[in-house]
């Protein structure tokens, strides 16, 4: 569930999904796809391999906007490689 505005005291979870850009060869995805076919499931069309990074953030002193900016910064500089990857994220409060 997305959060609105500033919420105190509860941990904020952010899920970041990092995926290879469309035009970039996904060698891992290809190997997994072949393996799935080998297992006998031939209704598989495509497999894309990515990263899934869960962050737990103490957002007590920050607004949602602050956090979003932070995650965007991290997504660009640390969590993804902008040369070959895209990222997106969602905030959840469980």
């Amino acid at each position: 569930m997305p959060v609105k505005g500033q919420v105190n005291f509860i941990m904020l979870k952010v899920n970041v999904y990092v995926t290879l850009k469309k035009e970039i060869l996904d060698a891992q995805g290809l190997v997994i796809k072949k393996a799935i076919k080998q297992i006998g499931y031939d209704n598989i069309n495509e497999v894309r391999f990515g990263k899934f990074i869960q962050l737990e953030i103490d957002d007590r002193d920050k607004t949602e906007e602050d956090i979003k900016k932070e995650i965007d910064y991290l997504g660009d500089k640390l969590l993804s490689n902008p040369n070959i990857e895209n990222y997106r994220f969602e905030m959840v409060r469980e």
């Binding site: 035009e23 970039i24 060869l25 060698a27 070959i84």
Partner: protein, 744 residues
């Protein structure tokens, strides 16, 4: 329709080059044809600025089976065996995307090797970055480049056994990543890339073709600036697993004699590989882009033709063999499609199904590509270069400020001097179980199974020296690799080079280039080492500033008897330590601080003259070292290079885990000069005390100065009672300093 009149400049072509194309075709090229010309005539593919000079290299000799011109050079090592090797740069891609840039650099050079029919047996790499302590970015580049090289080579099962790493401000905006790979082949199974036999077919084997790396060759032929960032889509990614499979498939096809020619796809993809095959065979070629397995169906012909998707090979086959080839590829689960046919019309024709979409005379893409002999002129920075980099009071100042122990520790902890263990421990350097000398010693040694032979490799190139004196710097680069080989007991038999320079259109840069080439030519002549392959990388500039001219030389040596492999570590207590080749009482021998590590560390400058080298004398020293090894008179040998004599002695202690008591008789009080000058032609050896007389006799005969400078033993390195440090402390600093820096 794109207007080619407006597009050619964007593709890196000059106005008169465009005119030349029109006159070759007798019409305007279409965009596909223009793209093909632009990649084929790029500096990267055509060597248009360097060809006129490179042709003066000595390229033949006793051991040479194949000189420059093929995918890699070949040397005969006897017993119907040959080694195949080449070095190549991947500087620009690595500066933009260090991990993938380095990985695909390795992948590319490995393909060059098995394209000759050889199984890759080892790799080396030569790396240059800015200083590690100046920015996190340099650490990031270093970390990712090493990881990229490691991950690719490790997965392929090819040991990365050696190389070099230097850190200097000059590479801050433009790192260098030069990779070398070596293969072993049966002489009678070698294969070439020439296309021949009208009606024979070209088969594309390996990965599918995607939009990656489009215009990579053009990208590599330009300076780096803000725009380079925006051109990031040129980045290619590596798939080492695919390459491993392609390697096994190609070697199997060769083994079963199913293919007639083989060519890797590197820069400029299908275009350059197929054009080169056609040009070498002086035949024509029809290519059908519709047959190329694509990653993205929406790709247009010019993209397909110049895509630099990795892990692809092009094989020349007889049509009748196709089914058998296809079966083998199926067994390994990889693509295998006929994409071209050899014709007799000497035209390079591109089809999309039945439709002819491009037609170019083959030779206009290769032999008739432009050649430039640029203006050259001694660069301005050399006009006011002081002769002497340091004066007496400079030394006194340093001695006042630091104790000799402190000075020594500063030197051995410099990332340029200390162990590169942090690097090579990330490389599988033992797979294939042939690595007879592990990384860290003067050269890396690979034994050849089922024979008594071994081959040794060393690579080197000092950008500071070449900046100060390109000609001498180049002499030293060749000399040092040969000297490293001599220290391992290997006779140098051939070399490859990677010449990294700035923009050749600037007269100062072209002057550096010209002088370096002349230096290499001279050294190769004197040492009798042929150049069998190589690579030129220009435009290594960022924001208008060129790197130091950096020719990297990698030399191969032959060891006839593995029992005689020698390394640099001291062996046993009480062994005699001898300095060969230098007269410690000769003042001029002691004043070689120009471009030295000492100068850089304590004065933060690159100045003066690079160390003198008398190359005929150097040759004698190396011969002496080899002879002493052959007669089994010495137990270790280690040459003096960056950091000077103190570093050499310390390294022999470190590798042998032994202390030493050094007492070198000095004429006057010139400790710093004696021990940190980077004087050439010196080798530190150790021997059983009873062998000293024989060594002395040999050296006297050869008129090689030698001096007993100490003994192996204990747990302390003591140099003239000025340096006195426990060997454990030295090892700790030397071994772990890079790791320490990298984890801050």
């Amino acid at each position: 329709m794109l207007d080619v009149e407006k597009e050619y400049a964007k593709l890196g072509l000059k106005k008169d080059e465009f005119e030349k194309i029109k006159s070759f075709l007798k019409r305007k090229p279409n965009y596909l044809e223009l793209s093909i010309y632009s990649v084929m005539w790029s500096e990267h593919c055509s060597y248009k600025s360097s060809r006129s000079l490179l042709k003066n290299f000595k390229t033949t000799g006793t051991y040479v089976l194949q000189g420059p011109g093929e995918n890699a050079g070949i040397l005969d090592i006897g017993d119907n065996q040959a080694i195949v090797f080449k070095m190549e740069s991947h500087n620009h891609p690595s500066a933009v995307e260090p991990y993938q840039g380095a990985a695909t650099g390795i992948g590319g050079i490995i393909r060059d090797i098995f394209a000759m029919g050889a199984r890759p047996i080892c790799s080396l790499n030569s790396l240059r970055f800015g200083k590690l302590d100046t920015s996190q970015h340099q650490k990031y580049l270093f970390e990712m480049v090493v990881k990229g090289i490691g991950d690719y080579g490790n997965c392929m099962g090819i040991p990365t056994i050696g190389g070099e790493v230097y850190f200097d401000k000059t590479y801050e905006g433009n790192c260098l990543v030069n990779a070398m790979s070596v293969g072993l082949a049966q002489k009678d199974k070698l294969i070439k890339s020439k296309a021949f036999g009208i009606g024979n077919q070209l088969v594309l084997i390996g990965s599918s073709t995607g939009r990656d790396g489009i215009h990579g060759a053009t990208f590599a032929s330009d300076e780096l600036n803000e725009e380079s960032e925006a051109r990031r889509p040129s980045v290619q990614v590596g798939d080492p697993f695919m390459e491993k499979v392609v390697l096994e498939v190609c070697l199997e096809l060769l083994d079963k004699k199913l293919i007639l020619g083989l060519q890797d796809m590197g820069a400029a993809g299908i275009t350059s590989s197929s054009v080169e095959m056609a040009s070498k065979g002086d035949v024509g070629l029809d290519i059908d882009v519709a047959k190329v397995p694509l990653r993205e169906p929406s790709m247009v012909p010019y993209e397909i033709m110049i895509s630099e998707s990795q892990e692809r090979m092009l094989a020349l086959i007889e049509p009748a063999k196709f089914d058998e080839i296809k079966n083998i590829c199926n067994e390994w689960n990889i693509n295998c499609e006929v994409i071209g046919t050899v014709t007799d019309n000497k035209l390079y024709r591109i089809f999309k199904g039945d439709e002819l979409i491009g037609e170019i005379p083959v030779k206009t893409l290769t032999d008739e590509a432009p050649v430039y002999y640029h203006k050259h002129e001694k660069p301005r920075y050399l006009q006011n270069m002081p002769e002497k980099s340091l004066h007496e009071e400079d030394y006194e100042n340093i001695e006042r400020k630091f104790s000799n122990n402190e000075i020594f520790k500063k030197i051995i902890s410099s990332p340029n001097i200390c162990s590169k263990k942090w690097v090579w421990e990330q490389y599988d350097h033992m797979v294939q179980t042939n690595t007879a000398v592990l990384p860290g010693h003067d050269s890396s040694v690979i034994r050849i199974k089922n024979t008594k032979k071994a081959v040794a490799f060393s690579c080197d190139g000092n950008g500071r020296y070449c900046y100060l004196e390109p000609y001498n710097g180049a002499l030293i680069a060749v000399a040092e690799t040969a000297r490293n080989l001599a220290c391992s007991g290997a006779l140098p038999i051939g070399l490859t080079d990677c010449l990294n320079f700035g923009n050749p259109e600037k007269p100062g840069i072209f002057w550096q280039f010209k002088n370096v080439i002349e230096g290499i030519i001279k050294a190769c002549e004197v040492f009798d080492i042929p150049v069998i392959s190589g690579n030129v990388s220009f435009y290594n500039e960022s924001f208008g500033k060129a790197i130091h001219p950096t020719p990297v030389i990698a030399t191969a040596g032959l060891i006839k008897d593995v029992e005689k492999i020698t390394d640099s570590g001291f062996k046993d207590d009480n062994d005699e330590i001898i300095l060969l080749g230098r007269d410690l009482n000769n003042k001029s021998d002691n004043d070689n601080m120009g471009g030295s590590e000492f100068l850089e560390i304590f004065f933060d400058k690159v100045e003066g003259k690079c160390p003198d080298i008398d190359i005929e004398y150097e040759k004698k020293i190396q011969k002496t070292c080899l002879e002493l090894i052959d007669r089994r008179l010495i137990k270790s040998a280690h040459d003096v290079s960056s950091g000077g004599l103190a570093v050499t002695i310390a390294e022999s202690c470190i590798y042998g885990k032994k202390g030493a008591e050094i007492n070198a008789g000095l004429l006057e009080n010139n400790f710093l000069k004696t021990f940190y000058s980077e004087t050439q032609s010196q080798i530190v050896v150790s021997c059983l005390p009873e062998n000293f007389k024989k060594i002395e006799e040999y050296c006297n005969n050869e008129k090689i100065p030698l001096e007993r400078i100490g003994r192996v033993g204990g747990t302390i390195l003591n140099i003239n009672s000025e340096i006195n440090i426990h060997i454990g402390e030295i090892i700790n600093i030397y071994d772990n300093n890079i790791e320490k820096i990298m984890t801050i």
